[in-house]
């Protein structure tokens, strides 16, 4: 593969429109990727206060490794990495754009058997056109956590962010991956996040979506070795005229694997969200146990949420379940809380907080749980 091939692929592929099934609810009219060229870089404020073993910051100028852990590869990603493009190639418009133009990336390799107690953390500041690429390899029996945070230098930064993550969870390894998206509401964000989980390995993934204008986040997990498990916990909150799009794919290739995807989102004002889930169980993936869930809470009558679960099962001895809901704050619940003296806003806040609690309880890293909680709280109007 060459950059030229990727660029050719990008140029050949049209910007998807709503006639394509996966883009039916995400209209990209008005988006011109070229219009964001050449903006200056800037630092961002972080959502997290963390004691980390490795820390990197990324701006349009490059990647800076501020702290690297001992015995673990934590370095700028180079073009010749053999794992590159093996999970996310250039067969899709935005993946191709990333493959063609990415400049700054991070390579993390946690060697066989190494257990990293403190998390790794990379912070990406999106300005102009930001193409970002992350490759993580947790080798056999290794354990590590990596937190990736996308943010903007200011709430009115206009940008085009294009991110690709390739995660390799080797046999019996355990990887926690946290992706927090807190971009400005003027940033178009396209992400392709893909993990491959091998025999007896475990992937625990947290996706937080709070910012961005419009775009799509694709999440794919391949359960590729017997006994692999993956768990994806998503929380999102959109307001104003934001539109969030999650496209998730649980690909069961090997037998005896488990995947559990649970998303909860709240919307207010004119915000909209689409969530598409697909569980595919290949014919050899017997004894698969797969679950997907997406629940939405509409805080204004003018919001709109479309959860679309999907199953494609080619094996005959599996357990697959899904749930999708769109609801409002119940008037009787509100009255019950208000009858105890809570104002309408306080009561609503409590109900929204309660709605997300189940999802927050799934987040193991405490600072991450706190950051996601705080990001959600910040979006519910103060009483």
């Amino acid at each position: 593969m060459s950059r030229t091939d990727a660029l050719a692929a990008y140029e050949k592929l049209p910007i998807p429109d709503t006639t394509e099934e996966h883009w039916r609810f995400t209209d990209l009219r008005g988006f011109d990727p070229e219009s964001f060229e050449g903006a200056a870089s800037a630092e961002i404020e972080t959502m997290l206060d963390l004691d980390v073993s490795g820390f990197a910051t990324v701006t349009a100028d490059g990647i800076e490794i501020e702290k690297a852990p001992e015995g673990v590869t934590f370095e700028p990603l180079t073009d010749d990495n053999e794992r590159l493009y093996s999970l996310v190639g250039w067969d899709e418009k935005f993946a191709a754009h990333n493959a063609a133009l990415w400049k700054h990336g991070l390579l993390v390799v946690v060697p066989k058997g190494v257990v990293l107690e403190k998390p790794l953390y990379v912070r990406i500041s999106a300005t102009g056109q930001t193409f970002w690429r992350l490759v993580v390899v947790a080798e056999e029996g290794a354990r590590a956590s990596i937190i990736e945070e996308y943010a903007s230098p200011s709430p009115d930064t206009e940008a085009y962010s294009n991110a690709v993550t390739e995660l390799f969870v080797e046999p019996a390894a355990k990887l926690e991956y946290v992706s927090l998206q807190n971009l400005s509401q003027e940033t178009w964000h396209f992400a392709n996040h893909h993990a491959r989980v091998e025999r007896d390995a475990e992937l625990d993934w947290v996706a937080g979506g709070f910012g961005s204008k419009r775009g799509k986040t694709r999440i794919q997990n391949d359960l590729n070795g017997r006994g692999a498990t993956s768990r994806v916990t998503g929380a999102y909150f959109a307001d104003g005229t934001q539109h969030l799009d999650y496209d998730t794919f649980q690909e069961h290739i090997a037998p005896d694997c488990e995947s559990d995807f649970a998303f909860k989102g709240a919307l207010r004002d004119h915000a909209t969200a689409v969530w598409r889930g697909m569980i595919r169980v290949e014919k050899d993936a017997q004894k698969t146990n797969a679950y997907q869930e997406c629940r939405n809470l509409m805080l204004s009558p003018t919001t709109h949420a479309v959860p679309i679960p999907g199953l494609e099962i080619l094996a005959n001895d599996v357990r697959c379940t899904h749930a999708a809901t769109v609801g409002r704050v119940d008037r009787e619940d509100l009255f019950y809380l208000m009858s105890r003296g809570l104002t309408r806003q306080e009561a609503e806040r409590l109900i929204v907080r309660g709605f997300f609690q189940e999802i927050l309880d799934r987040i193991e890293l405490e600072p991450v749980r706190e950051a996601v909680t705080a990001a959600l709280e910040a979006r519910i109007p103060q009483a």
Binding site: R331, M338, S339, L342, L350
Partner: protein, 257 residues
């Protein structure tokens, strides 16, 4: 003026159907009043309307609380002024623990009474009071960290209603069918909890179909409520009479078709 005063109160549903058809009632501190009526008489509607439920429209008349006209106030404002409703069917709020809910409610009331400025209760004081009240009402301590009413048994829900009342210290408590679904032990604990609070600081209005709960909380006044109106008032002996004779003598005579 009595602490709670209803003046010719009329309540209708959102579609205009009149349910409560002119109620006059005064309940003071130190008093227990019972409103007794058959199913469908509008008792629960009266309770909800007193608390300010938006689905029940007050079409005529006034509600006075502590000499203040609260007819137009929302539920939270009535609660902040000391009105409390123990629900017949308490709502489950998943994800919100009993403890965090109670603290939020207490702080909301304190804030309102402090002219809108935060005045949060000190956490040690809150914990101490909560544990003492839970023990007194025989509420299992484990419930404090459970989500409010989520998966609670009928008896647990009713005890937690009274726990909320004990923590919020209202001036006027309205109990809507609090006895329904309670076994005799739970009824005794719940009624005892209410009785202890009635005094110079609080009055109570007990709304019920059966006189069972009144064996444990002796009312000072009993009002028979039929078809949206109080049709007879008397002392505690009226409840006994109702137990024997039922509500039939008060129901409008059926007109043969």
């Amino acid at each position: 003026m009595a602490l709670l005063k209803l003046e010719n109160l009329h309540v209708a549903l959102e579609d205009g159907t009149e349910i409560v058809k002119g109620v006059d009632l005064e309940v003071d501190v130190n008093e227990v009043h019972a409103i007794m009526g058959p199913n469908g008489s509008g008792k629960s509607t009266l309770a909800y309307a007193l608390m300010g439920h938006p689905a029940y429209v007050i079409t005529e008349g006034r509600i006075w609380l502590d000499s203040e006209d609260v007819t137009e106030l929302a539920a939270d404002e009535r609660a902040q002024r000391g009105l409390f409703l123990a629900f017949q069917y308490p709502h489950a709020i998943p994800g919100v623990t009993v403890t965090s809910f109670l603290r939020s409610a207490i702080n909301a009331v304190r804030k309102a009474r402090n002219g809108g400025a935060d005045d949060p209760i000190a956490i040690p004081e809150f914990r101490k009071t909560l544990l003492a009240q839970m023990d007194r009402l025989k509420v299992s301590r484990e419930l404090a960290s459970r989500y409010l009413n989520d998966g609670f048994s009928g008896g647990e829900k009713k005890r937690v209603e009274i726990l909320q009342m004990a923590m919020l210290k209202p001036r006027m408590a309205v109990l809507d069918e609090t006895d329904s679904g309670l076994d005799i032990d739970a009824l005794r604990v719940v009624a005892g909890g209410v009785k202890e609070l009635v005094g110079p600081e609080m009055g109570a209005l007990v709304i019920t179909h059966y006189q069972r709960i009144l064996d444990y909380i002796t009312p000072d006044h009993v009002h028979v409520f039929v078809d949206g109106k109080i049709v007879e008032s008397g002392g505690a002996e009226l409840a006994k009479k109702l137990e024997k004779g039922g509500y039939a003598p008060y129901e409008p005579e059926e007109v043969p078709a």
